[in-house]
């Protein structure tokens, strides 16, 4: 069943502020460009381009400071479609760029020479849909093993045996091969290749970075992913909308609630349901607690990466309290599945308000300690200042999110700029940012964000009014045909859910835009010329969660 793009209102009824942009896009070569209802679909402008015009349109977007948010493939049957989502981090429309190719040739030009960040997205699309991107700089599987010969997200794929060849030795990337050859030809034997991970204490999960090292100096490195790939996006197509909720917990084990919220928001947007005021306040409190917990884990593990062991135990002690709240509220410490379609699963326990406000007071005191003992420590400053600088341009090109983005001086926060919860507008808080762009800036932003989150929690507690915690929702429901996008701000950045619905009770295609994906991708740009110790420091400062990337 081929899916048609949603019908648009006549141009005259479209919001006038995007008309100019649409005109410019058309001038640059877009074959179709139309405004979309943001409230209903979560997207502002829908652009269709031909493969030939793709670069020109993308260049236009780049010149207007649009950031790449995600890239995804959709099997439109019979055609294959690739979507690139863009958003200027600040005021401006959310734009999706659609480009199609037919099933048999399945070839498109790469966009990675305009937006470097599409590199990984295109490689993943190549794995999942079998679309070849011409002139791609690193044509190598990203998620799937290199010996697979099927494309799981195509609709005509119904499972295939994985045949592991006896000789699973992978072929290194072109640039690695070249570097090896060059080294041999020049007779230089100082340099070598070092596998950092997957079994390594500091890769935060099962990430493998193939480093090209000369002594202590890193000449370059490439990330290898896919060690904890679970095929969540394919699973989603086989599950009903409500059944999929528990899977959202398992994307990012440090902030399950933020993922719950994003998915609930997506369904609410698609079904046109509003959650109740009490539920919104509880959601906010729980999600912010999740953010605090996640940032605390970051602080502990980052210091662990830098060689200090003690802060880790203090941070986990604090986090333990938060997990206990989660357990008392939802019955689960980590995989909460608490924020559900239409509200929250159950009401909080009676002492909730008292206990949380006590915790907030306690945590403020602890933060002061961390600030003076850890963040102001001379060695910490030496290890973080000036290390791993991400420029504004890089941040936009790779679409990094969260504290990594704000640590590069762009004060974009989906909570403020695209409020998915009205309370964020009502409460008094500010978006933290730091223009320095280095590891220290990111650390600084995260530390301040914990304080802001505590502010939010404290104020939201007073807004907790009596009432139902879940709106009336159908147990099994169908989403009307169309495409929907929802954005929430997770601890690591924008969590985006892109849903293509075909009117049935299962998603036709569900893509999750995970923040760590873009945040980690930028690491390949940052490490050449640094030292092995810096790689660890940079990796830690990006606060990536690998299972989230692999999904």
């Amino acid at each position: 069943m081929p899916l048609e793009p949603e019908s648009d209102a006549p141009v005259s009824e479209q919001p006038s502020r995007y008309l100019e942009l649409i005109e410019r896009l058309k001038k640059a070569g877009a074959s179709e460009a139309a405004a979309v209802d943001y409230d209903k679909h979560g997207m502002d402008v829908d652009v269709v381009v031909t493969p030939q015009a793709l670069h020109d349109v993308a260049r236009l977007l780049k010149s207007e400071h649009f950031a790449l948010e995600a890239g995804l493939g959709v099997d439109r049957q019979p055609e294959l479609e690739v979507l690139y989502l863009f958003k200027p981090y600040g005021a401006g429309p959310r734009v999706k760029l659609r480009v199609r190719t037919d099933r048999d040739s399945a070839t498109l030009p790469t966009l990675s020479n305009v937006f470097g960040g599409t590199d990984w997205y295109e490689r993943e699309i190549n794995d999942m849909f079998g679309i070849t991107f011409t002139d791609h700089p690193h044509p190598r599987p990203l998620i799937l093993p290199h010996y697979t010969n099927f494309h799981p997200l195509r609709k005509d794929f119904h499972g295939a045996p994985i045949v592991v060849p006896d000789d699973t030795v992978e072929i290194p990337e072109v640039d690695v091969q070249e570097a090896m050859k060059r080294g041999q030809a020049e007779g230089r034997r100082d340099d070598f290749f070092l596998n950092l991970g997957p079994q390594h204490p500091s890769t935060h999960g099962v990430l493998r970075i193939l480093l090209h090292v000369e002594g202590e100096t890193v000449l370059g490195g490439r990330c290898h992913l896919g060690y904890s790939h679970r095929g969540t996006e394919k699973l989603a197509e086989k599950k009903q909308y409500v059944q999929f909720l528990p899977y959202t917990d398992r994307m990012d084990y440090l902030s399950p609630l933020n993922y719950n919220w994003g998915y609930a928001k997506l369904l609410e947007r698609a079904a046109g349901v509003e959650s109740t005021p009490r539920a919104e306040a509880i959601r906010l409190i729980m999600a912010e607690l999740g953010r605090v917990a996640s940032h605390l884990v970051w602080l502990g593990t980052y210091l662990l990466d830098l060689g200090a062991i003690t802060p880790f135990l203090y941070c986990f002690e604090d986090r333990e309290q938060i997990l206990t709240f989660f357990e008392r509220v939802s019955g689960q410490r980590m995989m909460t599945s608490y924020i559900v379609f239409g509200g929250v699963r159950n009401d909080v326990y009676p002492e909730f308000v008292k206990e949380i406000s006590e915790f907030v007071k306690f945590e403020r005191k602890r933060l002061l300690e961390y600030e003076t003992l850890v963040i102001e420590n001379e060695i910490f400053l030496m290890r973080t200042q000036g290390v791993g600088k991400i420029s504004k341009e890089q941040a936009l090109e790779f679409g990094v999110g969260g504290p990594v983005l704000r640590g590069s001086g762009i004060a974009y926060d989906a909570r403020k700029d695209e409020p998915y919860c009205d309370l964020y507008n009502e409460l008094d808080w500010k978006v933290e940012s730091d223009a320095r762009g280095d590891c220290f800036a990111r650390s600084h932003v995260r530390m301040n964000e914990i304080v802001q989150s505590l502010n939010l929690i404290e104020q939201a507690l007073s807004k907790l009014e009596e009432g139902p915690v879940r709106a009336k929702v159908p147990r099994i429901f169908k989403v009307a045909e169309g495409e929907y996008y929802s954005v929430t701000e997770g601890p690591r950045g924008v969590i985006g859910w892109y849903l293509v619905a075909d009117g049935s009770s299962n998603p036709y295609r569900l893509k999750v835009r995970v923040p760590s994906y873009a945040n980690l991708q930028v690491v390949e740009q940052l490490i050449p010329g640094t030292r092995v110790a810096d790689v660890i420091s940079i990796l830690g400062s990006l606060d990536v969660v690998i299972p989230e990337i692999d999904r």
């Binding site: 290194p172 070598f192 596998n195 079994q199 493998r208």
Partner: protein, 123 residues
């Protein structure tokens, strides 16, 4: 304690070295008997984060390490000269003092030169 032990550090050193090496060797030998021996291919491969190493790890150190080593030798020998001087400092008087100040000054100038030449810039 007999004088031979007090004043002849070489003998003490040799005897102790032999003794300690024997004790340590005994311990290592003991674990060879006590510990299990179940070698397999993966266990016996060098650890590289779970990957089979593509390149050999026994290779020469980068040149900058040799620079540090040479600097160390230079300074260490100079320091070795300073020790007897320090012991006899009281006896040798003003001449000893001035000559050693000159000596240390040369040492300092050498260090300054090395720093300025960016030999010690550890990149």
């Amino acid at each position: 304690m007999p004088d031979v032990l007090h004043n002849n550090s070489l003998i003490v050193f040799l005897i102790l070295t032999a003794g300690v090496a024997a004790v340590v060797g005994l311990f290592v030998a003991l674990t060879i008997f006590l510990g299990p021996k179940k070698p397999n291919e993966i266990k016996d491969a060098p650890f590289e984060s779970g990957f089979v190493s593509k390149t050999d790890a026994t290779q020469p150190f980068p040149i900058k390490y040799y620079l540090v080593a040479i600097l160390f030798v230079v300074f260490d020998i100079e320091v070795a000269f300073l020790y007897p001087w320090a012991v006899s400092f009281r006896e040798i008087g003003a001449i000893g003092l001035t000559s050693m100040v000159v000596f240390i000054a040369i040492l300092a100038v050498g260090l300054y030169y090395a720093v300025k030449k960016r030999v010690l810039e550890w990149k």
